[in-house]
């Protein structure tokens, strides 16, 4: 794509999200979402083939439906409160509709069906933007309306998301689908604590984005989209196999890596609010996620997949240089001792 046009479109995506995050007028928020949606379609379709077209169409349809539902909730809110400012949502119907719309945008169960299919159909870099940047805008709106969200619906969606994210990823070998299911599960964790302490939602979002960025960059570095091609990284860059191991274990939430921090904080916040069965259930279901991460590490770093003799003498193009990778890896694995710094987030 022409670099100038690509830059313009990328800036529009960024601008759209910024408008959503910084507006106080509901209509501007809706406009921001639409801008974001329209501008990201060309980015999703960077490679022009029927698979990408299908994925972009699915993404457009779901997100447009969600925007329409959001508009309806905004209008109902306008009807009942008489003003367009974002504070809390004044009517339970509007609140429920808005929560569903934002859940559709995020990919929470029961609106999660588009996430694996869209993520699979697009290139790795577009998938990266989809799973990290696109989550910022809906999450910021959820953060702002969090006092008025119906707890039952949100918690049901969260717990079901963790379940679906865990079970759905078990049968996958395609890396992008694995990342999609991991995104569904992490969104579940984030929304579970939204009503109790939205700061922790933001913390989880931050750490999730770091870890997902790291994973995608490691995949881009070894140009691998399936488990099989990932298992050849020991041949190309043996260091990457160790880094994949560490980052995957961090995503699974194992101490002492930083992926444990959001889970621990969320469990602590939920327990402080006297719900004990819920965090136990959520924590145990996160083990499903850990299982398919472990399977990835088994095929990549801890064992040597059966491969032909040609593999041992592979030639490749010059290694891509990914500048941000070392700091991202350090941050996505070693942040746990800095947990007391969370007090600055208040």
């Amino acid at each position: 794509m022409n670099p100038l046009i690509f830059t313009t479109i990328l800036m529009t995506v960024l601008l759209g999200t910024m408008i959503v995050m910084m507006s106080s007028h509901w209509l501007m928020i809706w406009i921001g979402f639409e801008m974001n949606l329209l501008a990201i379609i060309p980015i999703l379709m960077k490679k022009y083939n029927p698979r990408t077209m299908e994925a972009s169409t699915k993404y457009f349809l779901t997100q447009a439906t969600a925007s329409m539902l959001l508009m309806m909730a905004i209008i109902i809110n306008l009807m009942h409160s008489g003003q367009w400012t974002i504070t809390k949502v004044f009517n339970p119907t509007a609140s429920i509709i808005m929560t569903s719309a934002l859940a559709m945008k995020l990919g929470l169960t029961p609106f999660h069906f588009w996430v694996p299919e869209v993520t699979q159909g697009i290139s790795l870099t577009s998938g990266l933007i989809l799973l990290t940047w696109q989550k910022l805008a809906p999450m910021s709106i959820l953060y702002q309306i969090s006092p008025s969200i119906n707890l039952n619906i949100l918690l049901t969606m969260a717990v079901l998301s963790i379940l679906v994210g865990g079970w759905g990823g078990l049968n996958q070998t395609q890396l992008r689908k694995i990342m999609a299911y991991s995104s569904i599960a992490h969104m579940g964790w984030m929304t579970a604590v939204l009503v109790y302490n939205p700061t922790l939602t933001m913390l989880n979002m931050l750490i999730y984005i770091m870890m997902t960025l790291t994973m995608f960059m490691l995949f881009i570095h070894s140009s691998s989209t399936t488990t099989l091609s990932l298992s050849h990284t020991w041949n190309k860059t043996p260091l990457i196999t160790t880094l994949i191991l560490i980052t995957l274990l961090s995503m699974g939430g194992l101490p002492p890596l930083s992926g444990f921090m959001p889970k621990w904080m969320i469990i602590q916040e939920l327990t402080k609010n006297s719900s004990i069965i819920l965090p136990t259930l959520m924590a145990i279901m996160a083990l499903l996620n850990l299982y398919f991460y472990m399977r990835l590490t088994y095929s990549t770093s801890l064992t040597m997949f059966p491969s032909t003799n040609n593999m041992k003498m592979k030639w490749q193009f010059e290694t891509k240089r990914i500048t941000l990778l070392p700091p991202l890896i350090v941050m996505s694995s070693l942040l746990l001792p800095l947990t007391p710094m969370l007090s600055i987030l208040d």
Partner: protein, 459 residues
Amino acid sequence: MLKIIIPTIMLMPLTWLSKKNMIWINTTTYSLLISLISLSLLNQPSNNSLNFSLMFFSDPLSAPLLVLTTWLLPLMLMASQHHLSKEPLTRKKLYITMLTMLQTFLIMTFTATELISFYILFEATLVPTLIIITRWGNQTERLNAGLYFLFYTLMGSLPLLVALISIQNLTGSLNFLLIQYWNQALPDSWSNIFLWLACMMAFMVKMPLYGLHLWLPKAHVEAPIAGSMVLAAILLKLGGYGMLRITTMLNPQTSFMAYPFLMLSLWGMIMTSSICLRQTDLKSLIAYSSVSHMALVIVAVLIQTPWSYMGATALMIAHGLTSSMLFCLANSNYERTHSRTMILARGLQTLLPLMAAWWLLASLTNLALPPSINLIGELFVVMSSFSWSNITIILMGANITITALYSLYMLITTQRGKYTHHINSIKPSFTRENALMALHMTPLLLLSLNPKIILGFTY
């Protein structure tokens, strides 16, 4: 405590910066020096604990375990030299780094004051162990073994996290030193029963309790020698240590909640000892014998009398040294015949007489011969369980008999009799191996002269 932790962390740069022919020498020497430093902790002046900082402390229970941990690292390094000799240099350094990382986490776990810090480090020990088992094990079953190990332990310990946080909400702090003084009886309710279960299940899985022990034979058998040593000697004791710490907070539910686990342990120790009599795989036999000894520790901890705590602590240290030694002996067999089947390498006394002496000593301590500390541990546990309920003496006595049976079975099968004709070309014992066995046996024998340092905080 930093005087032990920082040198252990610095062992990692030491391995990466050492020259090719110096890595084993450097790491083994410095880890021996670190274990000398930890010996000073055995000087516990009173029943109160030695506080080093807000985060680390050492008391008569954790000091012997700490000394055992630091003592074991040089032994693990010595034992791993042979099977790593053909690997490229980077992988050797990675292996040593994994062992050192595990060592650091273990030291911090045994000396943590805050229970959540204990929890995080307890979980953190899983990652290097998993990598050691899965990456450097020898058979294809090691993949399954790693998964079983990780998921059994995690399933048990996630409820522990929730329980610890809810206790922190109730009492305000999880600092172990404070809780000793704040302790009040838990009110009797259903949710407190679940709290008890949540607290204890993690350690039960780790010990392991008889019904939850499936991960242990897999993990011990598939792990390389250093992995087996550290698993048997220390990681199981993490469960025992955790149980000893957390039962102080869990009264009075323990008096009735302990019954199912006591039944499982009492029956389980007989079952696993009997399974040992039918094993063909040498490492599997030693693994099941570990389950059996740990079942005694579970019985001791759940009975909660001063003598049983003394027995539990002594048994943990004694079993750590004995089990690790048996794994080293089994490994010396494995390195020669590349098979763990017992009957493939028989009559070794004719070929390797000095090793036969070590086999004899290890088997004798395994069956708790007086005056070794194994006997002291087992005897205290048997006595306290007899005072708890007279009938348990039947089961305990049966267990001691069956333990003797399988230890002697193992000894006689591997050492006595006519040697098999295909092993007349095995290499003689290396000095390294003899040194390894001596370094295991010497503390064991010397401790029988002064067992009070390992008798824990109720002495």
